[in-house]
């Protein structure tokens, strides 16, 4: 298990990470969400030893992450970067060897990965001659070439077209199903909701919500009641005690209840206005959860 245990980091007076804790299990795809500047990149950089933490610890399989452990991690930095004048295969082989692989194994992995990810290139092309999409694929390959035990990817999907997103998702899912914990950050919340097993939402350096997507959506406090009562006079719901009206439009209202167990009283109030076409609890989307979480 990859553990972030009470990780804190300050740059001068600015507390960038404040007592941040979460775990990622083997085979778990963890989506890391947060507004710009919330602390996602700093968290990942700490895991890779690029930033020193002030307090707390990062552990993999119970052991503090040091250089030896980190060499078995795969990393895709937010700031993409490879040697522009080196060929993709050589570059990937080099990174594989830096991670401690034998040259021949690294070279074979590099070639396999480029083929798997569908990187189109001439045999003598240096990296800078490839299209941006292909460069991005090579960047991912650099994170995968040494068969890492842990994958940490900072905004891996940014700048990819939908086909590229699918290819990348497939590649990550394949690794994940083989027992590799995968952490990636993204602003594409619909994508996170679709592919991730669990999600962490970070705001101002604190983890404000963490859990499986289903868990988060099912949390009572964040659920909303949707009622369609076409005959009701506008503003009918505002008069019911313990109810907050989130939206009201042409007979359709979206409500939040102070006490969700009193939903039957709300139904009765709705029925007094006339017909009730629709009455249901609705789990919020991740986007809504995110808005709520970071609004604090």
């Amino acid at each position: 298990m990859l553990e972030f245990d009470s990780v804190s980091k300050a740059y001068g007076p600015k507390q960038v990470l404040d007592d941040l804790s979460f775990n990622v299990r083997p085979g778990e795809m963890f989506g890391f969400c947060g507004a710009n500047g919330a602390g996602k990149t700093t968290t990942m950089r700490i895991a890779l030893g690029l930033v020193r933490l002030d307090r707390g610890a990062v552990r993999w399989q119970g052991r503090d992450v040091d250089l030896d452990v980190r060499r078995r991690f795969g990393y895709m930095p937010e700031e993409r970067g490879l040697y522009p004048k080196m060929r993709a295969v050589e570059q990937l082989t080099y990174f594989g060897m830096l991670h401690g692989m034998a040259g021949r194994v690294a070279a074979r992995n590099a070639e396999d990965l480029l083929e798997l990810l569908g990187v189109k290139q001439g045999p003598r092309d240096s990296l800078e001659k490839l299209s941006l999409g292909n460069q991005q694929k090579v960047q991912l390959a650099a994170a995968l070439v040494h068969d890492p035990e842990v994958l940490i990817l900072d905004e891996p999907f940014s700048g990819l077209d939908p086909v590229g997103v699918d290819a990348l998702t497939d590649a990550l899912l394949a690794r994940c199903r083989n027992g590799v914990p995968v952490i990636f950050s993204s602003h594409q919340l619909d994508l996170v909701e679709r592919v991730c097993d669990s999600v962490g939402i970070i705001n101002h350096g604190r983890m404000v919500a963490v859990g499986s997507v289903a868990e988060l959506r099912e949390r009572e406090g964040s659920r909303q009641l949707r009622i369609v009562a076409p005959d009701a006079a506008p503003g009918w719901a505002a008069g019911v005690p313990g109810v907050r009206v989130l939206s009201e439009q042409a007979g359709e209202v979206l409500l939040e209840l102070d006490d969700p167990t009193r939903d039957q009283e709300v139904l009765a109030a709705a029925q007094r206005t006339g017909r009730v076409q629709h009455f249901s609890w609705r789990a919020p989307t991740l986007t809504e959860l995110f808005r709520e979480a970071v609004a604090v």
Binding site: L50, P77, Y83, L98
Partner: protein, 385 residues
Amino acid sequence: MSLIARREVMAKLRDKGFLISSAFIAVVILASALLPALFGGDDSTYDVGVVGDPAGFEEAVAAQADALGAKVDVSAYPGAAAARAALEAEDIDAAVDGDQILVVTSVDGVLQQILDRAYAGVIAAERLSAAGIDPAEVATAFDVPRLDVVSLDSDAQRDQQRQVIAIVGVSVLYGLLILIGQYVAMGVVEEKSSRVVELLLSTIRPWQLLAGKVIGLGLLGLAQLVVIGVVGVGAAISLDVLTVPGDAIGTLAQVIGWFLLGYGFYAATFAAGAALVSRQEDLQTVLLPTIGVLVAAFVVAIQAVQNPDGPLAVVTSFIPGLSPLVMPVRTAAGEVAWWELVASIVLMLLATVALVRLGGRIYAGALLRSGGRVRIKEALAESAS
């Protein structure tokens, strides 16, 4: 670390710019060694015409030329008009007609001496034969060895050659320190501006990256230096430009030793400076102070050739950073006590160790900070925290 060093070497070996500049340097060095030999060889070969063919003249000329270390090709012309025509066509340098030397403007001193002596010898032999003396006895009588020249300061020529070698050596050293130092700096900025450094530092420590880069490029520089040295000194020795090969090889060895010391010192400075910026465009600004020191060291070194005992040369040969360029000049001039050399090397080593540590810390602290220029203080604070 060796992996990193190897990548640096391979990347440079594949870089056309590097290969072309290396080949260019080798050609320049070879040419500068060869040219004096070519021109020098030209000067001591003469073509001389002789009108008629006085008996024994050609042999006498050959003997005199041999004694003076020159070579004279003699060709006979039937009459003065033919000889003049050949002179004007520059086929020959001079023509001998009876008791006259014909030249276009003036005659080379050595050639005149050869022709004078040959002429005197031939005429004297004729007169003695006419007086009834056996020509064989005449030949024996004229076979007098030349006077030996004994120089009271026998080391003068040797010193002069050693100075020339020292100047060439220090110039090459200076050029290479700047060249390889720039490679280090450009490599650092390339990794920083392409952001590949973030990926690298997740698997290796900053000092390993720095050491690998510096060692790899340093080996390339050393290889260039050795090639230049061997080609230059080898060509000079084989063409007899140098008469004291032992000294040349000694100076070459010294230059190589000082390259290693100076390279450690300057590479650390260049790398630390380069780590402060994120773009190649900003590089020159941060490197300027270091290059300034190198230029100053070179100027002092050239000055020291004239005055190896002067206070400036003596003092600067102990100052780390300046000593790699100044000390080889002083030792080549033969004015250095062994303890001076040791002290200079120790000081340089101490300074290099301190600078590599400091430079390494700046490098580590500034490497992941992109954007504008990082202040040295910030970089040190970052690597210390």
